[in-house]
């Protein structure tokens, strides 16, 4: 079953849901399906229980941080300058990102199919970071959603036991976010290089070192 077929199957059975196929241009060509969070739980339970799809196994859940990024694209535009038509470079700046993304890899053991890749996006990276939890549907998502909550800060509504998994209670940061700044413990670096060298230099000048 192709992803397009699954998409039309979902659209026929879950009214009002917004789906988008995110193409993957790499040789693996693992295209994924972007689901809107409002209908995500209905879509997921259809994918698990629907007779044709039967995705009964969730193998992996992962998170991605997309910080706000300004992309400028150059296009050649014909313009009339001083009465003469010329090719002029026009720079268009667009903003991408600014959200957290969660990716589910789903398989069907019964139909020997998969993976079907689902994506969900939060509204932003600050406080509107709620997404529905799929743990009630696939138990295997339990620890992985906790890990994403811990390391990315996505809050999964409906998760039975949403606590930090790797870091301790009382830790406030989310270490896998792109803008995470790790604590300044660069006192001793035997062979510093690249990023570590930069941090070690900063540390030593702050401490008034060598």
């Amino acid at each position: 079953m192709t992803l397009e077929a699954i998409k039309s199957e979902i659209e026929a059975n879950v009214p009002g849901c917004q789906l988008e196929i995110i193409p993957n241009t790499s040789p693996s060509a693992q295209h994924s399906l972007l689901v809107d969070p409002a209908h995500a739980l209905t879509v997921a339970s259809f994918l698990r229980d629907g007779a044709t799809v039967r995705l009964d196994y969730c193998s992996n859940v992962t998170g991605i941080d997309w910080p706000v990024k300004e992309v400028s694209t150059k296009t050649k535009v014909k313009k009339i300058v001083d009465g003469v038509e010329k090719d002029v470079d026009e720079v268009v700046k667009t903003q991408t990102g600014g959200y957290l993304e969660v990716v589910y890899h789903l398989y069907s053991m019964e139909q020997r199919q998969g993976p079907v890749i689902l994506r969900m996006r939060t509204e932003d990276r600050a406080d509107r970071v709620h997404l529905p939890s799929f743990t009630p549907l696939w138990r295997s998502a339990d620890f992985q959603e906790r890990e994403i909550f811990d390391l990315f800060g996505v809050i999964f509504d409906g998760h039975p036991d949403l606590r930090r998994l790797l870091m301790w209670e009382g830790f406030v940061d989310h270490p896998m976010r792109r803008d995470y700044v790790d604590p300044d413990d660069y006192e001793y670096e035997p062979t510093p290089h690249n990023e570590v060298l930069k941090r070690a230099r900063e540390h030593q000048s702050a401490e008034g070192g060598l």
Binding site: L166, M167, W168, E169, G170, F171, V172, D173, P175, Y180, D182, P183, D185, E187, Y188, E189, P190, T191, P192, H193, N194, V196, L197, A200, R201, Q204, L210
Partner: protein, 213 residues
Amino acid sequence: MDEQLKSELSRQGVVATSLQELYNWGRKSSLWPLNFGLACCAIEMIATTMARYDLARFGAEVFRPSPRQADLMIVAGTVTKKMAPQVVRLYNQMPEPKYVISMGACAISGGPFKQGYNVLKGIDRYIPVDVYIPGCPPRPEALIDAFLMLQKKIDEQYLTGPNRPRHLNADMPSEFVVPEFGEHDLEPTQNRDVWKAPLVNISIAGKNDSGSD
């Protein structure tokens, strides 16, 4: 006592010794490690105690499941920041005299995970370490070598004088600060009485070393 006279006497069947030698011999020959491992180094530690390498030959046959009965802590594996307070607390609960072997790259410095967000950059930031074993993971022979090195270290200790070991000196601490979980890192990030950062001149690091500069 003169060494020559002692060996002469032992050939005649007379054993002469000093209290210090007897005391050190007793301590070094019954080092009981704490039964505790953190990562893959622990697998090598287990292999060391099994029949092929047989650490029991050196008097360390019983791994104690309680810190109250152990003399030696083998920190075998990556110490995460979440685990570090428990490791220090276990060390504090061991009675004196107590020793620490820091086994493997991670326990020494954080190893391949040194820049990780949850990895302690060496257990020696919180507790005093007697022997370091490099390796990832070190082979059982390396652990046995470290063990023999520790035995040699114990054998050379004096019972009196300014260089006497910590457990015979009432002024020296036997318990160390247990770090607390902070909002961004452990607090304190190191015990300054135990660990001082080695001086590394980083101003020369990162330069072009091809000679052309």
